[in-house]
Subunit: 235 residues, 2 copies
């Protein structure tokens, strides 16, 4: 790898409230000046809103919320109180199938996009057409993890990014060959973007600037990052 | 939360090769100009080297490597070929108990620090004494995850940082109260730092500048982030 360079993570502020059919790429391009090599991280919430992936649910009705989460799942892995850990049809393992009532109009919940990689591709295509910049796009969401407390933002969809940067066969600093270091850069980028967004601050997008060129290329979250049921040791 | 501000992630370059007893804080302070509010992320590898947590092992001897990994574990959770997923005495779940042969002199392996939070505290205390700056320190390592391919850097030790920023009770952008959003900012910061380090580039530290003040405060990885065996649904 080349000499390391600094990274900037820039919140995209001033986006209007998003509704069904809205042009997210147009909103983002109007709010910030993009450069070649940028990665635009867009939270799932506004992607779902723009795609109309919103349903009515009574927030006080725990049973209705549970049914909704299970309807969005292919498999329930664990239950604890009102929480269900499910596998979604995308292959994501997360709480309540990603169904989310925060930052929604009262009585409504956002569902995950049907195909978050496709959502990312559409936003990227529209951003490229509008800005003529070469860039990557990540759709991010906030997931829990096994073994560690708290949640972090991860990539649920991506476009223009390799997803995993495979350092197998790259010599380490000692000049010997690394056996297996497949770094999931899209998750690290999504988590980095979360640090400037903040759940309560209402910043639903960020730009990560200065990434190494090796992160760009063909790939998607479904293809590169999602571990299949059979491959997974912890499901 | 206040208005979001940009974040800078700066690689710390030019550090000398680290050996037992070396003063990491002195090396880092000499290599970069720190500011109040910075978080210094130091990779486990150089912390282990400075602390003498290095043992001899024949890299060609799979059985010796396995025995070493199991000796560092309190529990073996899964086996697949030469890989063992273990729980370390710190409570981390990771491959081969974090025993690592990359970027090491031939025939040597680095073990995890005995107490990575203490390692972080010592580095922070020394950096504060030297620079008179208020800052946080994270010791990072590269771990795999359940359900998703690839590895990401996470925090195995921290000092001066709350670890998890708890947004429970904070109003969301709609003015309603969020139920539970406990963001593991130290893991997001560690992953962000990895993006400027790169396994092969030989950059073992980075500075994250511009974080929200809410990430600073009392806390440690062991106290805030490690999920205990009994609490965990996936062990």
């Amino acid at each position: 790898m080349d000499a390391p360079t600094p990274l900037a993570i820039l919140p995209v502020t001033g986006l209007p409230e998003v509704g069904p059919g809205d042009d997210l790429a147009g909103m983002i391009a109007a709010a910030t000046a993009l450069l070649d090599g940028d990665v635009v991280v867009v939270t799932q919430k506004i992607v779902s809103k723009a795609e109309g992936r919103v349903v009515a649910v009574d927030p006080a009705d725990a049973e209705a919320r549970r049914e909704l989460a299970e309807r969005e799942a292919v498999r329930v892995l664990r239950r604890r109180g009102e929480l269900v850990i499910t596998e979604t049809r995308h292959g994501f393992v997360c709480a309540n199938s990603g169904v989310d009532l925060s930052n929604m109009a009262e009585g409504h919940a956002a569902l995950l996009p049907l195909d978050p990689d496709r959502s990312a591709r559409r936003i990227r295509d529209a951003l490229r057409a509008r800005t003529h910049r070469e860039l990557g796009v990540i759709v991010s969401d906030t997931f829990g993890r096994a073994w560690r407390r708290g949640v972090t933002d991860v990539a649920i969809g991506s476009a223009g990014l390799r997803g995993i940067v495979d350092l197998r066969g790259t010599p380490d600093a000692m000049g010997r060959t690394l056996v297996a270091t497949e770094i999931c850069v899209v998750d690290e980028i999504a988590g980095a973007a979360e640090l400037v967004m903040g759940k309560a601050a209402g910043v639903p997008a960020a730009v990560v600037r200065g990434l190494h060129p090796s992160v760009f290329g063909p790939g998607s979250v479904r293809e590169k990052v999602v571990r299949s049921y059979g491959e997974d040791l912890f499901r």
